[in-house]
Symmetry: C2
Subunit: 343 residues, 2 copies
């Protein structure tokens, strides 16, 4: 069993820096595209064998140090009674957003086995196959709320930010509901076998430091505390939060995931005694190899070979990325960071 | 003459904190909308009297401490031979983006009087009318490049970031061309009478710290140095740059403008001995008065009444903002910050 990622979460030394990629499953892989010619994303997630296969593809092809469960951030929402359509080129679309106390009252209680049974079955299948840790994930309450209130992604997450200001009580109850969802969803994933979880707060960067700290952070903290109580390490990822990274870190996480808009060493100095994950610009991965190599070297240098550094991108793999370059990058990270490698 | 803004740029004490709003002209004002019913944005900018009138409207109605010339960030681009359409709900659209050495070679030299003569005439008209300073502005080279290369706004400014990585020489020459444009455009504005200039780098936050520092900052610095050589104070505004604000500040500016994604006092501590402008979340301005009041008080408290604080939003006024609230906010800022006011 390759336990580099688990050791990094505990700040223990490793023989080489662990590396995996957000969105490594799907998107850029031809074997994934072949599957998507006959199945929608929703169909893949609803079929345990297919979901496990898609999750395994990048582990086989790339040699990464972790598998990450294939699903969409909105996958558990129908379990609350919130219907989601995945639209090509747009992402998740919610035709009936949740914006009022009445909308909230109409939501159902999330039952993991009934709602995402095939995903949990996929986890059990994967654990029998994998010799790297399996990462589960959920959307952080605010980021899920950005979709649930706004109906779809928008540059500034304007709708949910307005709800926070205009109807603080409704917003607070919605965030609490989405935290409950994340706790139940991640708890079921852990029970099924995931060994690490990542909480994605991809939209937190739309907030002011005050709003994040006073109105949002406690909901994320409750999710991360619940994961911690299960004895499973958590990665707390956000983007655009360089203005209040200390607050993000204070909400929890064994590793803090950062995007490319901040230098890794600067970020690490601000998050206290814990590990860090990131932060190569995904746009770099689309370029010719020398550009990728230079970008990777800069991230490795900023990580400085310290225990607790997990190599990753600053956000998800872009669809136009060449999978051969991803595989070559995994080798590069391992070779350059190997204990005993020439400096 | 109300010189609060000019004094703040020089870090001199003021009788009350100066306040103006990005996008104060246009958008939310009914008298502006009445004009736009009979003229497009391009027509307003091409008519000196109309442009001056639109610039004056918020000064009359709101009591702000500065006027800001009404124009779009892309207004000077046709002077380079780059055609721009302003599309409602989208913003500026460039149907033939500039992406290659050949595209660059086809550009014309910018001649201010020929390209933006009416705007310069509007400045002269305005100086005869105004008893507050007139702010001119230009897009920073990278932000203009985001439009020129991408063809329109996009969340991550992906096209121009790819050009920086894939064709460094073309990108560098494009940024140099856009810096030349900004220098000529701002120089002509200063010659016509603007007393302060603001350089807008609204897209810089899409960059990594390394790319900003190594490939972009020098072009902004050249523009800001040229303004400085004219003896006119400059405001250097960017959004999403909390990860590398020191580098933004190092590129120049008497005041550094920050968005709402960072605390004003944190930002001020990072930019050295100069003033700061910002940073109320524009979404707050759309809310009921008590929410606005609380937001304004937080910004004033973070500013601490120190010389060099200019009250503003973290980005432009949103169209749905109530103009009465803007006027009330100006009064609030003046009253609470007045020298001798009870703490």
């Amino acid at each position: 069993m390759n336990d580099r990622l688990l050791r990094a979460c505990r700040l223990e030394p490793v023989d080489a820096t662990p590396v995996w990629f957000m969105r490594q499953a799907g998107r850029s892989l031809p074997e994934y595209r072949a599957i998507r010619e006959r199945a929608t994303l929703e169909q893949v997630v609803a079929d345990a064998a297919l979901c496990a296969e898609v999750t395994l593809q990048p582990v086989r092809r790339l040699g990464v140090d972790a598998a990450v469960l294939f699903a969409d951030i909105t996958t558990p929402l129908p379990g609350l009674g919130i219907d989601v359509r995945i639209v090509d080129g747009v992402g998740p679309v919610i035709d009936r957003p949740v914006r009022s106390a009445d909308d909230l009252a109409a939501l159902r209680r999330f039952e993991p086995e009934a709602s995402v049974g095939p995903l949990l079955a996929a986890i059990r299948l994967l654990r029998a196959e994998l010799d790297v840790p399996l990462i589960g994930f959920a959307g952080a309450p605010f980021t899920l709320a950005a979709y649930v209130v706004g109906g779809r992604a928008s540059r500034d997450a304007a709708a949910v930010r307005r709800l926070l200001l205009e109807a603080p009580d409704v917003a607070d109850r919605l965030l609490a509901t989405l935290a409950d969802l994340a706790i139940a969803y991640l708890g079921a994933q852990v029970a099924a076998g995931v060994q690490v979880v990542q909480l994605f707060d991809s939209w937190a960067g739309a907030l002011s430091p005050d709003l994040y700290r006073d109105r949002v952070a406690a909901h994320s903290r409750r999710v991360l505390d619940a994961v911690s109580a299960l004895g499973v390490p958590a990665i707390h990822f956000s983007t655009g939060t360089a203005g209040f990274l200390e607050d993000v870190a204070a909400a929890g996480g064994d590793l803090i995931g950062v995007d490319w808009r901040i230098a890794l060493d600067d970020a690490w100095a601000r998050i206290g005694n814990r590990g860090i994950q990131g932060n190569l610009d995904p746009a770099v991965l689309v370029e010719q190899w020398p550009v990728i190599e230079a970008g990777a070297d800069a991230v490795l240098a900023a990580g400085g070979g310290r225990p607790g550094h997990v190599f990753n991108l600053g956000h998800g793999v872009l669809p136009e990325t060449n999978p051969d370059h991803l595989a070559r990058l995994v080798d590069l990270v391992h070779e350059r960071s190997a204990v005993g490698a020439a400096a």
